[in-house]
């Protein structure tokens, strides 16, 4: 990393043919003189003021959105519970959706996280450089495929392809409740949804992780290798500890997408009441429920859907706070100080 610092200092607009020491000293002393003047002090104030106002602006906007959400959701909480969700009440409506959302998101992350880490490592530390660049590029692109396309792919390709697998699971492992039969004949189940979600979040997690793996101080890596560590030991001792907060952050980004994903779930899942089996049709997620019912909703049912949105919101917040907490606990291991 000192190498990078060195390079930064060298990054003067002059060409390399000019005598380097001379240029550097004159540039730097000139810059220092200029910057220590009042003009520089003013620049500091202006810049920090701009950054501060940007922060405040974001805070105001986000607080406004949150307030709007709470305000719109409020009627669903105070209205007589018999008027909501066919008289079941709001909580009876929302709890199965929360469970479904969590199951789908957790499975997708359990599938996606190790794979994404592997791919990110492959790109950053294993693949030949040229191949790595192309791969990084492709992964970034995949993050941009609209979710309706993933949904269409899930329903037209993945779901039918998984049907025999589900039938096998139901017959061989049917005694485990989550693989309870009879398996769905269309493959439009929560497990399929989780796999589609995993495919959607893999590019996101990979993209962020790769970027962070590449930032690992080269000195740490080289020191580890010089001490005789194998490549895997180097990764475990130098790369992963350095990247841990970033990995958690990346996974949270993926979780945000998995929790909030609407179209792919809405298209793929054959929704229904909450059931334990992941290979039968059933279950539903909050975001998909909002997307499916929103267009025809009006009045109190609209408030109910927005309240569901609020629950999702609170839920993501809780997850994020936990993640922040984990990151702060590991901060002392970060290499960036």
């Amino acid at each position: 990393m000192t190498k990078a610092a060195d390079e930064t200092a060298h990054a003067s607009p002059k060409g390399p043919d000019v005598t380097s020491t001379e240029t550097k000293t004159s540039e730097h002393s000139g810059g220092a003189r200029k910057l220590s003047s009042r003009e520089g002090a003013a620049g500091d104030k202006v810049f920090s003021g701009t950054a501060l106002s940007a922060g405040i602006l974001i805070l105001v906007v986000l607080v406004a959105v949150a307030a709007f959400l709470v305000l719109q959701a409020f009627p669903a909480f105070v209205a007589p519970q018999s008027q909501i969700a066919d008289g079941k009440g709001f909580w009876a409506y929302i709890v199965p959706l929360i469970v479904g959302t969590v199951i789908a998101a957790v499975i997708s992350l359990v599938v996606a996280t190790p794979i994404s880490l592997g791919v990110a490592l492959f790109i950053s530390h294993y693949a030949p450089r040229r191949l790595a660049q192309i791969l990084g590029y492709i992964i970034d692109l995949l993050a941009a495929i609209p979710s309706v396309i993933f949904g269409a792919w899930g329903i037209s390709f993945l779901a039918p392809a998984l049907v025999p697998g589900y039938a096998w699971l139901a017959s061989s492992l049917g005694w485990i409740p989550i693989f309870g039969g009879p398996a769905s004949a269309t493959g439009k189940t929560l497990l399929t949804v989780s796999i589609v979600l995993a495919v959607m979040v893999i590019p996101i997690i990979t993209s962020v992780c790769r970027e962070i793996f590449l930032q690992t101080p080269k000195l740490h890596e080289e020191a580890a290798l010089a001490l005789g560590a194998t490549r895997w030991e180097m990764i475990r001792m130098a790369v992963l500890p350095f990247a841990r907060p970033g990995i958690i952050s990346a996974v949270m980004l993926g979780l945000g997408r998995a929790l909030g994903e609407t179209m792919a779930v809405a298209l793929v899942l054959s929704s229904g009441p909450l059931i334990a089996s992941l290979i039968q049709s059933g279950n539903q997620t909050i975001a998909a429920d909002i997307a499916l019912n929103f267009p025809e909703a009006s009045g109190l049912s609209l408030n109910q859907l927005i309240a569901a949105g609020l629950v999702l919101f609170v839920f993501t917040l809780a997850v994020n706070i936990v993640a922040r907490w984990i990151i702060s606990r590991h901060k002392e291991f970060s290499g960036a100080n």
């Binding site: 950054a51 986000l62 190790p114 941009a144 930032q215």
Partner: protein, 368 residues
């Protein structure tokens, strides 16, 4: 050759090494064992691949453990896992890309697809093209322009604001109260359902400019609400991992803080920031619901984001798939939808290229 090679194998440096052909030999064994096992449970290519990969890993790692010892074997195992995960990812992702390409090429190559709007196209034309085999009329020009302008505006708003905020969080606040509040709300916003962002923007503009204010700009604001948290989070992460030594070196040379940030910190992190911005754009570019609530659903070309309805590629794709122009003959609509999806991806590809170009221009040369 052999004369030289034989004594070398005896030196202590190469004594505990696997021969060069070890991976290939293991691969052959893996393929054979995989074929055998998959035949037992009912042969298919997919099963063969899975079993072959497992067998290869076992053989290769066990061999390495026997010859080279535990540490090297663990290293080989990790390599197998990393490459394996890469292969696992390639399959579905390429399947998705293939699906889009397969469906999209035909639509994209239809003359007029890129240059015309959907103005005046109805089920009558679609039925005709199915019945007589004439070319599918109607294009995506209006939606392409709409997506371009809406995304451009939301990027123009959210990238400077988001980047400055992350600079504030990392460089100035350093755990202050305001910083904590901003972090908290940025975290909250990552979980916002996109439809709520649309409702918010629609309500905001309806209050200020009267009901029914639906323009491209309202959509850009809605997308900004979704985009800012992603921009802030990813650039915050990237700024945080800029080594403090760099900052300290700059300060020690008497460089002002703001110049340090602009000339040292941000350029060091720029490739990560650019990647994060691309991700943020990717996050919002496929959003359907917020655009529908805020920008309306146009079938005509509109170049002005501040007045009248605007179309966008995601709403276009969504409705062409779910509400075909001719319900009884959905094929022309599907062709247009896949074509539009392909265009959307190409469009993001170009954006991505620009982001990388920008990153490369501003980034310092590093050892990588």
């Amino acid at each position: 050759m052999t004369a030289i090679a034989t004594p070398r194998r005896r030196t202590s440096l190469t004594r505990n090494r696997l021969p060069r052909i070890a991976p290939w030999a293991s691969l052959v064994v893996g393929l054979v064992v995989g074929a055998a096992v998959s035949t037992l449970v009912g042969f298919n290519v997919f099963g063969w691949g899975v079993f072959a990969a497992i067998a290869f890993t076992i053989v290769y790692v066990a061999w390495s453990a026997a010859v080279e010892g535990g540490r090297k074997a663990r290293d080989k195992f990790a390599t197998c896992l990393v490459i394996g995960s890469f292969i696992i990812v390639v399959l579905p992702l390429f399947s998705v890309i293939w699906t889009v390409l397969e469906g999209g090429i035909k639509g994209l190559l239809t003359p007029g697809f890129l240059g015309t709007s959907m103005n005046g196209v109805s089920g009558i034309q679609d039925n005709q093209s199915v019945n007589t085999g004439s070319r599918v009329v109607g294009g995506i020009y209006h939606a392409l322009i709409g997506t371009l302008l809406i995304t451009l505006w939301s990027t123009i708003i959210s990238v400077p604001v988001g980047l400055l905020t992350s600079i504030y969080l990392v460089e100035y606040s350093r755990g202050g109260r305001l910083g904590q509040a901003i972090t908290l709300f940025v975290d909250v916003m990552t979980g916002i359902p996109s439809i709520v962002a649309g409702l918010f923007a629609a309500a905001l503009f309806a209050t200020i400019f009267g009901p029914g204010t639906q323009t491209g700009f309202v959509a850009a604001v809605a997308l900004t609400v979704l985009m800012i948290p992603v921009v802030v989070r990813s650039s915050e992460e990237m700024l945080r991992i800029v080594p403090n030594e760099l900052r300290e070196a700059a300060y020690a040379l008497g460089v002002r803080k703001w110049r340090t940030i602009l000339k040292v910190v941000v350029p060091t992190a720029i490739s990560g920031i650019a990647s994060g911005v691309t991700l943020a754009i990717a996050r919002v570019i496929g959003e359907t619901a917020p655009i529908l609530l805020t920008a309306g659903f146009a079938t005509k070309i509109n170049l002005n984001v501040f007045s009248n309805w605007m179309a966008s590629l995601p709403t276009y794709i969504y409705f062409q798939i779910l509400n075909p122009t001719s319900p009884s003959n959905p094929d022309p609509s599907l062709q247009r939808a896949w074509g539009a999806a392909l265009v959307l991806i190409i469009f993001v590809m170009i954006l991505n290229l620009i982001a990388r170009l920008v990153a490369r221009i501003f980034a310092p040369k590093t050892g990588r």
